[in-house]
Amino acid sequence: MTIALSSPALTQSNIREAAVKPILQGGWKWWSLFAVLTAIIAAGAAAYGYQVMKGLNVTGLDQRVSWGFYISNLIFFMGISYGAAIASAVMRLTAVPWRHGLTRMLETIGLSAALAGALFPVLDLGRPDRAWYLIRYGQIGSPVVWDVIVVTNYLVAVLLFFYLPSIPDMAYCRDQLGQKVGKLRRGLYRGLAVGYGGRPNQRRVLGQSITVMSILIIPVAAAVPSVLAWLFSVTVRPGWDSTIFAPYFVLGAVFSGVASLVVVMALVRKAYHLESVITEQHFKMLGYGLIALGAAYLYFMIAEYVTEGYKMGEAGTQLELVLTGRLAWLFWTFVIGGIILPILAIALPFSRNILGITIAAFAMVLGMYAKRFLIVVPGLAESILPAGTLEVYHPTWVEITITVAAAAAIPWLLMVFFRLFPVLSIYEDGTAETAAASEGE
């Protein structure tokens, strides 16, 4: 049985038309949103400039809690990125028949979130020039150096993973859009198509390259959250003494990546009228995936806290801060509002529709941000000295502005990418047509 994920009446030509629609469709709504997002990003840039001038003392960070919003943002945004990349790679390698409407979006989310997230370690350094010291004086025994290595590998991998499947689409735009786009974009398509003409040799080599990158990006992407997790668990902090952090982080990344895809998919579907290409069935399939990922994440979290809590000897630890203390409201909001209720919303038939699944996915994305904060800050807040007290961390307007700007940068980048690249992968639409045809059988 083939699951029908596109309208039976949908032809290859319709899909291509839908795929390039965002490239041709601008309008005041697009420009208005673009201007608002640009203004938010500019405010974030100004806040960062202020931080560079005044130093890190304008943030809420201090000697104890030196990783606040910035490192939470790094884990969150990079998590969305490699979660999306891994999901796309798995879909490609397992030849999921309904992947065709999603792979481009996943790869674009992966690239956009990586570009936004990779900046945060530099922001957390205070002086950006010190990033060079990591390369010049870095020691291989330091997990921070491992992080630099894996993030660099990943940035190159995600760029290639995004670009390679785009080559035939660039050739399509080069050949078919003609005067419908400006001179600049015509030049861009000519350059990025790198002479692709659909010759058998070109198709064969490109297919092989995409397959190689689909295989390679899974370990390369999984290495990033794993190393980030080790960065935590090898540090002498009671709340981070965990052996399951690496798979816990990878799972959290895929969970937030797929949840982000659902949100982006709903917005793109609505904005560009792609209802015939991205159907309710896509949302349901991803919704089932989110139930499984959410439940697995809950299981990992319980395993983590039970182990830590059972051995907990004295009062005033980070676990108390999270479960019953000052941050308990955030933790229980995450558990109930970010995991349990969204899972129920997707599981129950009356709310298992596009709106219900999208709202559930959005709640999961917000919940996962809260969870990253709950991993980073309470772990640092706990004193490692005897009779030490729990530190209180309050992010300042500088950190909040930069965080909001980074969150705005992802839709901003998606808007820019979808103005330049087809929102659906035209390269693979032949199979989409086959799926549609199978429905009629």
Binding site: I149, P168, V194, Y196, G198, V205, E428
Partner: protein
């Protein structure tokens, strides 16, 4: 009456103090200035493995006569706390030939900048001299305990390096191979029919 006596006593005390200060100042001005001294550093041999070095200096007066029974301080200049910050490593009293020396065990490897200093006395002016010698490093009195899995620690960085190199090699092969295939020649832009070059494309 009592007040008069008190006033007289006070006046006498002030006058006495002024007289005492003036006379001591006069005596000081009239006395000879401290005699100049010269501190000469004796050559310090470079450190031999496992042995301390001998820091030596000779104190003489302006006519070159040795000055015995004077204290000489020896310093090293680590350079960590600034170019002039000195760390005292010992002191010795000059013998009849004006020579003072101390054994010193270096605590780091490389060039060591050192100084010998004679602090001024009422009769002798201070003097100082700097010098340099090479060290081969401290000799450890103990052996560090090995961390667990030392063998793994030794080869793990190389395994990571090989893995990273393999990843980058794959990136380069993918890029180069794709670029060569794309350059292998395709139809001109205008001659490509709509979607023709996409047909049959699958990952």
């Amino acid at each position: 009456m009592t007040l008069r006596r008190l006033g007289f006593a006070l006046a006498m005390a002030v006058a006495g103090s002024v007289l005492a200060i003036t006379s001591s100042l006069g005596a000081a001005l009239a006395a000879d200035p401290p005699a100049p001294t010269t501190l000469t550093v004796l050559p310090t041999a470079d450190q031999q493995p496992g042995k301390p070095v001998l820091l030596s200096a000779k104190l003489t007066d302006k006519s070159g006569q040795p000055l015995g029974n004077q204290t000489i301080n020896f310093f090293v200049i680590p350079g960590v706390f600034g170019p002039d910050a000195m760390m005292r490593v010992g002191k010795a009293v000059t013998d009849g030939t004006g020579v003072a020396q101390i054994p010193y065990t270096p605590t780091w490897i490389g060039d060591v900048k050192a100084a010998a200093s004679f602090t001024a006395t009422p009769t002798l002016a201070g003097s100082q001299a700097t010098f340099q010698f090479k060290t081969v490093g401290p000799v450890r009195g103990h052996t560090n305990a090995e961390f667990g899995l030392q063998a793994v620690r030794d080869w793990a960085p190389w395994v990571v390096a090989v893995l990273v190199a393999a990843i980058w090699a794959t990136f380069i092969i993918v890029i180069v191979r794709t670029a060569i295939a794309m350059r292998s020649g395709g139809p001109k832009e205008s001659s490509t029919p709509a979607g023709e070059h996409l047909a049959g494309a699958k990952t």
